[in-house]
């Protein structure tokens, strides 16, 4: 089964929770995953951020659920990096 190694998401979120708390909550969804968030634009009640998550197996669905749970809204998936499964014995 293919593994998601990296995702780049465009997210609109409220000011609270802060970017740090937001990143921690998302990082908690995976094991040994790196999360990087860059604030692109700040409005009166919201901020647009670019979220990059990298790891051995990025749990995409759990990440989206966490974003929604924290009041964020996923605007677009701007990039993905997926690794295919190892060759099966038959293919070898």
């Amino acid at each position: 089964m293919a593994k998601v190694k990296r995702i780049v998401l465009d997210v609109l979120k409220p000011h609270q929770p802060s970017v740090l708390e937001f990143a921690k909550a998302i990082a908690d969804q995976g094991t040994r995953c790196n999360v990087k968030i860059t604030v692109e634009e700040v409005d009166e009640k919201t901020e647009s951020v670019t979220l990059v998550m990298e790891g051995e197996n990025v749990p995409f669905d759990a990440v989206v659920d966490t974003i929604n749970n924290l009041g964020g809204s996923l605007h677009s998936i701007d990039g993905v990096e997926v690794e295919g499964p190892d060759a099966s014995p038959d293919q070898k």
């Binding site: 609109l12 609270q16 919201t46």
Partner: protein, 191 residues
């Protein structure tokens, strides 16, 4: 549970509101009961059980008033804030942590607002209870209750000074001064 409540309060920035309500209504309660007790003192010959009933009635009324007024105003305020945030995010936040915060934060704030005057009032009338059940007090019950009220008001002032970062002793003394002036006005009017 406490951590979750802290998270929801932080999310909705309601820490400061709960603190303000605690001081405002606690102070209201303390000053109301102090006024009643000083009035009983100046009247003279008021039986202790009558003073307890009157103070307890006032404490319950303050508690119910605090609970309901804060719940009604805060829940409406939270609903408005949630709707504004939903408009800004173009999404439904009903199932998110913001939705939960808009339901639970008014409950917490109303509990603080209602219980603060009630508990402060119970503390102030404690000497009257003690006298009623036969515990010996160093001073007569009404004078002791006045002392407890001044102490409660001083500590509420200290609490406000500590949380606001200003000089705590001055804040406590200022609250105490207001309470003393209130007592003097009641004494002067001989209510």
């Amino acid at each position: 549970m406490i951590q979750r409540l802290r998270f929801l309060l932080n999310l909705s920035r309601a820490h400061g509101i709960a603190r303000r309500y605690f001081f405002t209504n606690g102070y209201d309660g303390a000053l109301t009961i102090l006024g009643l007790i000083v009035a009983f003192y100046t009247t003279g010959d008021v039986p202790t059980h009558t003073a307890i009933s009157a103070c307890l009635g006032a404490a319950i009324a303050l508690c119910i008033s605090g609970l309901t007024s804060a719940y009604i105003s805060e829940s409406e305020e939270r609903k408005k804030e949630l709707a504004e945030l939903e408009r800004a995010l173009v999404t439904d936040l009903g199932d998110s942590e913001f939705g939960k915060a808009s339901q639970w934060v008014p409950v917490w704030i109303s509990l603080v607002n209602g219980l603060a005057p009630f508990l402060v009032s119970l503390f102030i009338i404690a000497p009257l209870w003690m006298d009623q059940i036969g515990i010996a007090l160093p001073f007569p019950p009404l004078e002791s209750a006045i002392g407890f009220a001044l102490l409660a008001i001083f500590f509420l002032g200290l609490f406000l000074g500590k949380t606001s970062g200003s000089f705590w002793l001055w804040s406590g003394l200022r609250a105490l001064l207001i309470a003393v002036v209130t007592c003097l006005i009641i004494f002067a009017l001989k209510l």
